[in-house]
């Protein structure tokens, strides 16, 4: 199947539905953009319902109801019911704060398939400090217990950075005690808010090396008991991550106001034209929107990517990171050791300062 411009069209598997940017927490690595969208601009229930149906028609299998904190939406249960009916495998990504037990039970009732809760640290005081919210740690634990009590599968997501990287073992123990069946260990990715806080968040190289070893040991120790997925810290890597599985290949992201992005950070690249679900069907957007076609396939690649044996494996890395670090969104992601700019990452990573976080607000 090809688009009008001759490029191969792929079938997306996943839809990230950012239902709102509102969130009670202020995590300094939040993946939401610096310019948060307002409540008054958020899509209504009927539009989300249409988007889910169109997504299922396009081949999408899983929807991730996210935010911000999705619990901030009063119509969350109706939205989840619409996603389930679409039909889509429905995943809730929540901070665990601002979602009541009653809402959770209603979500389980309407067909929610899975819940992911983020934790900030295994130590309550540190966790609350990172989240910028007193009592967050206790509330997250209580909601996680409720997820398990309802019989829903639980993933615990932990974002790793300098303040908690030494306690991955304890956080994994905490996730096991909470009854999670899956753990996601994600090193901070430096975009948006995290980029603002890079010097305060960046771990040292030896900490990262120890963390990679610790994760391997934990995987072996808990094999068959819990699944541990890990996202590697890319400032210390030699090869770039295959960001979102390749631009416009496997997933799409709908912002609270309805703009459709190839990845959640894509708006950080200037000059891309994003289309909205208010004006177009999801199918039209996936197939024809200029932003989705900007970096699809390999034709856009310069050297050294275009002649690289790994070009269909990591797709030249992350377009947003290439732009943020080099000023050119087409450039090889500097994470790649073949990039002429690779040395800058070690320099940037060495800039570390224990300064106060700039909380996301």
């Amino acid at each position: 199947m090809t688009a009008g411009n001759g490029q191969v069209l792929y079938k997306p598997l996943g839809l990230l539905a950012e239902l709102t940017h509102r969130c009670p927490l202020g995590c300094p690595y939040c993946s939401n953009p610096i310019e948060l969208e307002r409540r008054s601009d958020e899509l209504d229930t009927a539009t989300w319902t249409r988007v889910f149906r169109e997504a299922a028609g396009l081949g999408v299998l899983q929807v991730h109801l996210s935010g911000g904190e999705p619990g901030a939406r009063r119509d969350l249960v109706e939205i989840a019911a619409a996603a389930h009916a679409a039909p889509l495998y429905t995943n809730l990504i929540t901070s665990g704060v601002g979602l009541s037990k009653e809402t959770l039970a209603a979500l389980a009732e309407v067909g929610l398939d899975h819940v992911q809760i983020s934790i900030q640290d295994s130590k309550a005081a540190s966790a609350d400090h990172i989240a910028g919210y007193k009592g967050a740690y206790a509330r997250k634990n209580a909601l996680a217990a409720e997820v398990v009590r309802l019989g829903l599968p639980l993933t615990i997501n932990m974002v790793v950075h300098r303040a908690n990287i030494e306690r991955i073992d304890e956080m994994v123990e905490q996730a096991l005690e909470l009854g999670a069946s899956r753990i996601e260990i994600a090193h901070v990715q430096y975009y948006g808010w995290a980029l603002k806080n890079r010097a305060a968040l960046m771990p040292r190289r030896e900490q990262v090396e120890r963390a990679v070893g610790a994760v391997e040991a934990l995987r072996a120790k808990h094999h068959g008991r819990i699944v541990i997925d890990a996202v590697v810290p890319d400032y210390y890597a030699r090869f770039p991550k295959p960001c979102v599985g390749g631009w416009g290949r496997r997933s799409l992201n709908v912002t609270p106001s309805g703009r459709v992005l190839p990845c959640h950070a894509a708006e950080s690249i200037p000059g891309l034209e994003f289309w909205s679900v208010r004006d177009h069907s999801l199918h039209e957007i996936w197939q024809s929107s200029p932003a989705f076609n900007a970096f699809r396939g390999t034709d856009w690649m310069p050297e050294p990517c275009i002649s690289c044996a790994r070009r269909d494996q990591d797709f030249g890395g992350c377009r947003c990171q290439a732009f943020l670090l080099t000023g050119d969104a087409r450039a090889t992601d500097p994470v790649c050791h073949l990039s002429p700019r690779h040395a800058m990452l070690a320099e940037l990573a060495s800039v570390q300062a224990d300064e106060p976080y700039v909380y996301r607000r």
């Binding site: 079938k11 299998l61 039909p87 398939d113 899975h114 599968p153 069946s181 899956r182 068959g224």
Partner: protein, 92 residues
């Protein structure tokens, strides 16, 4: 490693579903934030993991349906189910 015995009764846990997706070209196994495309043999086994049949009964049925040696089928079924259970995709 999860061990599978003849009288284990496998079933897909909540949050794991085998669905037919026309757009993705056939059966897919949906799990928490993961999607798997099982091969045709795995699909036949997964379809029978309903919490009603034992591993032995599943092997009997597949051996008969495909005129294959029962012991070999049983071994293959156990290997697959063990690896699925390790990935939290199956309850035994």
């Amino acid at each position: 490693m999860n061990t599978v015995s003849d009288d284990s009764v496998p079933r897909l846990p909540r949050g794991v579903r085998l669905v037919d997706s026309a757009a993705q070209g056939g059966m897919v196994l949906l799990a928490p934030e993961r999607v798997f495309k099982p091969d045709p043999i795995a699909i036949e086994i997964l379809k029978r993991c309903t919490g009603a049949a034992t591993v032995a009964a599943i092997a009997d049925e597949l051996a008969a349906a495909y005129s294959a040696p029962r012991e070999r089928v049983l071994g293959d079924v156990k290997t697959l189910l063990g690896s699925l259970a390790d990935k939290q995709l199956l309850e035994l």
